[in-house]
Amino acid sequence: MSSYALFKKDLASELRTRYAINSLVMFIVVTISVILFSIGNEKISDFLSGGLFWVVIFFSAMSGLSRAFVSEEERGTTLTLQLIASPTTIFSGKLLFNLILVFAMNIVIALLYSALFEAFVIKNLSLFLYAFILGNIGIAIASTLIASIIAKASSKGTLYPVLSFPILLPLMLTLIDLTKQAMDTTTFSSSYVELAILGCYDVVMIAVSFMLFDFIWKD
């Protein structure tokens, strides 16, 4: 319940300050526009459009998801949070907020992307949905943990994508592969290995996050 209360506080704060939403929306619009302009009248392959889809998601996540902890640090309210809740509660609440933000952001990206790119046609929707859901969970967990690490650094903006890239790389490569399979006529059963990798990634990241967060949060 405490985590949910923290999530509600963050949501109310976000709706009033528009700290992350504004930058996310602008970033999504700008990134998709840049890709559209750079393609021009060229016809891109189906698989390239699938890869670009996750590139847009990666960079959008880098622009907005660090806010969960960075905004607290910049406003000086980190200490206040330390005084009212345990590290587990803080991480759970922030993770819940980032999960909602990632899903909302990526659904908007997916809808915009499907509408604007003719080549982006998903033939196996259930496979894509499984990959999308597991991928979003992985992105939210990893980016929440990394945000807590970089929040106290002086060059947060640079450090966040740099630290995130190696951690999110195996997730992104698997997601690109699964999207390619979903755009192809691959059956669900032949993608079990990739789905298992995504599931394992999520489990490992959530376990590592809760183990490490206590140390990150205190010092």
Partner: protein, 210 residues
């Protein structure tokens, strides 16, 4: 009578190569007012953060007991109240919203009477529904006391409690400290003679530099 006990044993803190203090021993067993003093940079705030479990000591240990049982660090925040210039409340919320959010996150309930009493006591009742960003620094300091007291903590830590306050605000703080010290432990870190004058014992941090 408070059944809370705090023991800090051989606590040292080093930032980089700079020694802040070394082998500080500090304990509070009974209710009362305890002081921590020292010049600027002597580590008063750092020591307070260590004994509240916010940061870890470089060496030594801090143990909190309640009813003879050790309090786990995960639960410690429910027992402490903390007021300091570096405790910042959310500007985008009203004073009441701040207190409500904090209480829900803490998982505690309080009566409306208690909330109204605290706002009345600290003289900001008429402005309780205003956004905190419109508050003066003195009003924010008064709100921090409500934040620290609303969950009826067993031990209170006040770092420079009278900073930014006018004379009536200072009187309210001293009155609160004296009332709370009847049943709980109150620890004050300050350089102000008037703050330290109400303490029954004072730890001088400057003595632990070497």
């Amino acid at each position: 009578m408070s059944s809370f006990e705090l023991q800090a044993e051989n606590v040292s803190k080093v930032f980089g190569r700079r020694l802040i203090f070394k082998d500080v021993n500090f304990s509070c067993k009974n209710n009362g007012i305890y002081g921590i003093s020292g010049p600027n940079g002597s580590g008063k705030s750092t020591f307070l953060k260590i004994i509240t479990g916010i940061i870890s000591p470089t060496k030594g240990k801090v143990i909190h007991y309640f009813d003879g049982k050790i309090i786990e660090s995960e639960d410690l925040h429910n027992y402490i109240g903390f007021v300091a210039p570096y405790v910042i409340l959310y500007d985008e919320f009203t004073a009441v919203e701040n207190i409500h959010f904090f209480s829900k996150i803490r998982g505690i309930n309080f009566t409306q009477e208690k909330l109204d009493f605290l706002f009345q006591h600290f003289g900001i009742f008429d402005r309780k529904n205003d956004l905190v960003k419109g508050y003066s620094s003195g009003m924010k300091q008064r709100l921090k006391f409500i934040f620290a007291l609303i969950h009826s903590p067993k031990i209170l830590f006040f770092d420079e409690p009278t900073s930014n306050l006018d004379n009536s605000g200072k009187e309210k703080v001293y009155q609160t400290v004296k009332e709370e010290s009847q049943n709980n432990i109150v620890i004050i870190a300050s350089n102000e003679d008037s703050d330290l004058a109400i303490c029954s014992s004072v730890l001088e941090l400057q003595d632990y530099k070497i």
